[in-house]
């Protein structure tokens, strides 16, 4: 599956990391996945990451504007703040919370 993805072609190897993406709640239902390992850009931003995930799973568009990402178990503010991803890092798709 990863081999089929346009971002995993050899030319982008040096600028990508193998990242574990976790899906929870509605995002797990929309993607049919709880976890996948995908190559993601080493230097990126929240907005770019979300765009990549949308490309992988267009159904995630249902969460547009009502989702945040967590990187290494920290929420990241939406927008263009710089994010550096290393191999083995964990990114999570976090739909609106409903604990309690």
């Amino acid at each position: 599956m990863l081999a089929d993805h346009p971002m995993s072609h050899p030319g982008s190897f040096l600028s990508q990391s193998q990242v574990t993406v976790l899906y929870f709640a509605k995002s797990a239902e929309l993607t049919g996945l709880r976890l996948e390992v995908v190559p993601l850009p080493v230097a990126t931003s929240s907005g770019q990451l979300w765009a990549v995930l949308l490309e992988l799973h267009p159904s995630l568009a249902a969460l547009q504007d009502h989702v945040v990402l967590a990187v290494r178990q920290q929420y990241i503010p939406p927008g263009n703040q710089s994010i550096i991803l290393a191999d083995g890092d964990e990114v999570a798709v976090v739909p609106p919370l409903s604990g309690g």
Binding site: L22, F24, A25, K26, D65, H66, V67, V68, A70, Q73, Q74, Y75, A92, V94, P95, P96, L97, S98, G99, G100
Partner: protein, 161 residues
């Protein structure tokens, strides 16, 4: 006696107990975890599952969590509480996961302090902060077997917020 007692009090470490479990929550155990002989007050909040939502009968609820991050987020909430209410002694936060039948507890918080104001205010803050920041999700399943992922208004990116 007195000096030893005062030392004893100072030496009893403050506890932050954070737990996730698919077993029913024991309110007595959550209470006991927060109890301290140096405190006169334990405030508790228990969140329970309701049988109705907007007139629809709820037959069950399912909780899931990003468990490692719940731990780190709730640890940060405990630090906040200790900064705001330095007199708080013990903090115990337990959340149930998986299927929770109607009228059972999904979350239980107990906080102790020498005087009651601190514990009571800290518990209110704690449940508000948990709802706003702990990565936990609840799906309500209705009699008709359709379901809905709930969204806390306290969550900054909810669609009803």
């Amino acid at each position: 006696g007195m000096a030893m007692g005062e030392m004893g009090e100072a030496m009893e470490p403050r506890r932050d107990l954070i737990g996730l479990s698919s077993e029913p929550l024991s309110i007595e155990r959550v209470y006991s975890s927060a109890l301290s002989p140096s405190c006169g007050a334990v405030a508790l909040f228990i969140g329970t599952t309701r049988e109705h939502f907007e007139g629809r009968r709820v037959i069950r609820l399912e909780y899931e969590a990003y468990e490692a991050m719940v731990q780190s987020e709730l640890s940060a909430v405990c630090l906040d509480i200790r900064a705001r209410w330095p007199m708080v002694k013990h903090i115990c936060i337990q959340h149930r996961l998986g299927l929770v039948p109607v009228a059972e507890a999904s979350v239980a918080i107990a906080i102790s302090s020498p005087h009651r104001c601190d514990a009571q205010e800290a518990v209110r803050y704690c449940i508000d902060a948990l709802k706003a920041s702990a990565p936990i999700w609840k799906k309500e399943v209705y009699e008709s077997e359709d379901s809905k992922w709930k969204e806390n208004p306290e969550c900054g990116w909810s669609s009803n917020g």
